[in-house]
Subunit: 488 residues, 2 copies
């Protein structure tokens, strides 16, 4: 267990173990040279072609160049993304753009470890067959078509969100294992739609996602009065989020249809197989018990001061003790370690971009530009929302985005004359719609992408067109509803 | 690549992928209940039986109790040590003894990541066959007996130490891969002897290990004059370290003999096979090139400001680019991830014990006790050295030990009337002898233990008897030599 080196050899004599006959050693083929050159070229062009503006330290400009190359590489995929992120970190460290502790700072981030530990859970779901059972349950209820199944998942997401306020935990603890148990031809669609579908489900309630609290806190601290923040949030969010919830599965279905949709006989067949499965096996019961402890803590942990990641770690300890999972099986979850590396590198980079003032410089740049355009109140409203949204390409966490940009953009909205409650809430809702923009946009996106079922190209495309759809919904239905309830 | 969940399934119909027939699922069997109860019992007894002394915060006492349970568990092995450390961290976090960031603080430690990355190298050594080749070279030169091979490794260690000042890098980059290529029956002895044998080789030169510089720096800062620290160190260290270097392979050989020793025909056979192997293969050449870059940076990195871990990361990037190793193969190195978890947890715990004042309280306790005994100068000299040494059971890094305890113990030695140069140097040499006390005593011990070749029981036993041997050597030969060169 845990051997650093895995091959065994035996023989006679001190040197007897040394094998001289060896199989032809396969060289790995991870590198696509042209794509690597393009990705690196973009950063090089920024570094030496554009050059560092006076307002920034050269080091900050270096980091931005490295970050842009990194992100370009995440799209062009010159190497597996973990390897690419590892390389980017190596460049940042060896050019002394970042110190080791700065570069690795995000590795103590709770969301990163929540992803690692729930990745172990996923293994247990698969191993015990409990994931299959849950999937059969879903199919027996809503499996007439892949589309109806997607709506079933959306409803489940919305119902779970008040209980499990961590979007990452919902993704890794429920939806990824279930979807992985379904037909291969449906998975890419379902995973893609879940990434986008988490936006409305996390918008409904103030407690739907961590960044919601943060935004509301900043709004209240800026003196915007909400006598009952929870209600004000829910009332304003309800109508546009509901429309978005209904539109998302259909939009993704029309633009990126699944390989298989109509399966009228599936629910009955699933119910039949479910009854054949019989009651929970011993290991399934232990798994359900361990998971129940975690879910209990996800629901009530806030009162006990137990965070989402510690809840997951407690459940993992029970799985280890009960023998649901061995430590060796956990260590073999390559996906967990892969995400640990690439997500931590990106979260670290984006945190340092913020700390070095690059994000502030970018948003100052935007605001100066917009003020110079003389757009009027509604013009500013639209433009600020757009910029606020697309700056998320530079962020690997919605909470970090709120922390870095929400105060500045809120101030700009107020300065443009937007009524305070409208400014505060619309900006907070907008943050929720970013979670599916990229695969590093949020913890849940990283988890869904980590399932290996969706290509980067498709994920980014869906992030882009669904952002347009959401802008349309919030810009029409949302604005009308907010007028009705008197937000402006 | 990087899929969080690894099983594939296919079928027809939305639910068609759900398999109803499953193999009997194996429950894992990681937990040994009695041992777990004993390990936990020790901590519980400390927490509620002994109770927190007035000088410490209850939180600090909690952490000490958890740490003692953790370490007891590392010896009794109620679970795989990674799982046990994971559980200990979970307890520390859920009892709010540590915050998440405190608990994970050591995960940004450079030595931890040096171990992870050099763990990837080890895979490349094995995969390309280059480890076999190096092993054959060693055997062809010194492989008449396992004991002579051990002496060969000792000489190689001593010769490499000025070039590669990181003991961890020497262990992971050279000796573990080579030993893993040797006969199974010789490996436990060779690994055990390397762990102990690193003590003298890192003592010879001021540049032999990171903690040496730190100790010398503190000594100079306390006003102890060394006109040429490098020479003073080497002259004082040379004789006792040489005796220890010669004694270590023999002592371990006598007390824990290898399963195979006499192999008079091995060197010739190895030379023969080496010639059959022919020149380096293409992938071996790429491996050697990548490794040479790293070794070059290990040697000259100090001048360039490139640390050992960044040097290793650069070499790893080349291996990925050249296709020596795929990212997937790297992610599959369970040993790297295992060490990441358990070593980081231990380093974190011991760092926090220090930060919370537990280490200071323990050493104050010791010094009060000793002063009360009226031992006289040489009595104090011996007793302080013993306590300084065995407090290393609470440390997961020699540098941390020097940082936390060297100044206090140096002051106590001087107060007892020990001549300053003798006090400073003997205490610094003593630190080097701790590296093999436990499997978490140092980076190299963690790496050697990670090879999976030696049992914890044997490692701890060897650590204990070799500490007695080293005390005897430094107390007789060392003291005599230091008298000759006029240190007292």
């Amino acid at each position: 267990m845990g051997s650093t080196i895995e091959r065994e050899s035996g023989g006679d004599g001190v040197g007897g173990g040394v094998k001289t006959t060896r199989a032809v050693v396969m060289e790995a083929d991870d590198l696509r040279v042209v794509n690597a050159c393009v990705a690196i070229g973009v950063g090089v062009a920024l570094k030496w072609g554009v050059g560092c503006p006076a307002a920034l330290e050269p080091q900050a400009w270096n980091l931005l160049s490295i970050f842009v190359s990194t992100v370009t590489g995440l799209v062009l995929k010159p190497m597996p993304i973990g390897a690419w992120a590892f390389g980017a970190l190596t460049v940042a460290l060896s050019t002394k753009t970042l110190t080791f502790v700065q570069g690795l700072s995000a590795i103590t981030n709770e969301v990163v470890w929540l992803i690692v530990v729930t990745g172990f859970f996923a293994r247990a779901f698969i191993k015990t067959g409990f994931g299959d059972r849950l999937a059969l349950l879903f199919v027996s209820v809503a499996g007439h078509t892949t589309l109806s199944l997607a709506y079933g998942f959306q409803v489940a997401e919305a119902l779970l969100s008040p209980a499990m306020p961590s979007t990452t935990a919902r993704a890794a603890g429920v939806f990824v294992p279930v979807i992985k148990s379904l037909d291969k031809r449906t998975r890419e669609y379902l995973i893609g739609q879940q990434i986008q579908g988490t936006s409305p489900t996390s918008t409904f309630l103030l407690s739907g996602a961590a960044q919601n609290f943060l935004a509301m806190q900043i709004a209240l601290a800026s003196g915007i009065p909400f006598s009952n923040p929870f209600n004000a949030w829910f009332v304003a969010a309800s109508v546009p989020a509901l429309v978005s919830l209904l539109a998302t599965p259909m939009c993704v279905f029309m633009l990126d249809p699944p390989g298989l949709n109509e399966t009228p006989e599936a629910p009955l067949a699933a119910a039949q197989r479910l009854s054949e499965l019989g009651p929970l096996s011993s290991i399934e019961k232990k798994m359900v018990l361990s998971l129940s402890i975690t879910v209990f803590l996800w629901v009530f942990g806030v009162q006990l001061g137990i965070s989402a990641v510690v809840s997951a770690m407690i459940g993992m300890c029970f799985m280890l003790m009960f023998g649901v999972l061995s430590w060796d099986e956990a260590l073999g979850q390559k996906g967990s370690w892969d995400t640990l590396i690439w997500f931590a590198v990106l979260v670290g980079f984006s945190g340092q971009l913020n700390a070095m003032g690059v994000v502030g410089w970018l948003s100052g740049f935007v605001s100066n530009y917009l003020v110079a355009q003389n757009l009027g109140m509604w013009g500013m409203f639209g433009a600020l929302h757009c910029f606020y949204f697309f700056l998320h390409y530079f962020f690997a966490s919605q909470s970090a985005h709120v922390g870095a940009l929400y105060p500045a953009f809120l101030t700009l909205l107020l300065a443009a004359g937007v009524p305070p409650p409208l400014a505060a809430l619309s900006l907070a809702f907008n943050t929720n719609n970013m979670g599916g923009l990229t695969h590093y946009a949020s913890g849940q996106a990283a988890v869904y992408y980590g399932s290996g079922e969706i290509s980067l190209r498709k994920l980014w495309k869906q992030g882009l067109y669904m952002s347009a759809v959401n802008f349309a919904i919030y810009g029409t239905v949302g604005m009308a509803w907010w007028k009705v309830i008197g937000l402006y």
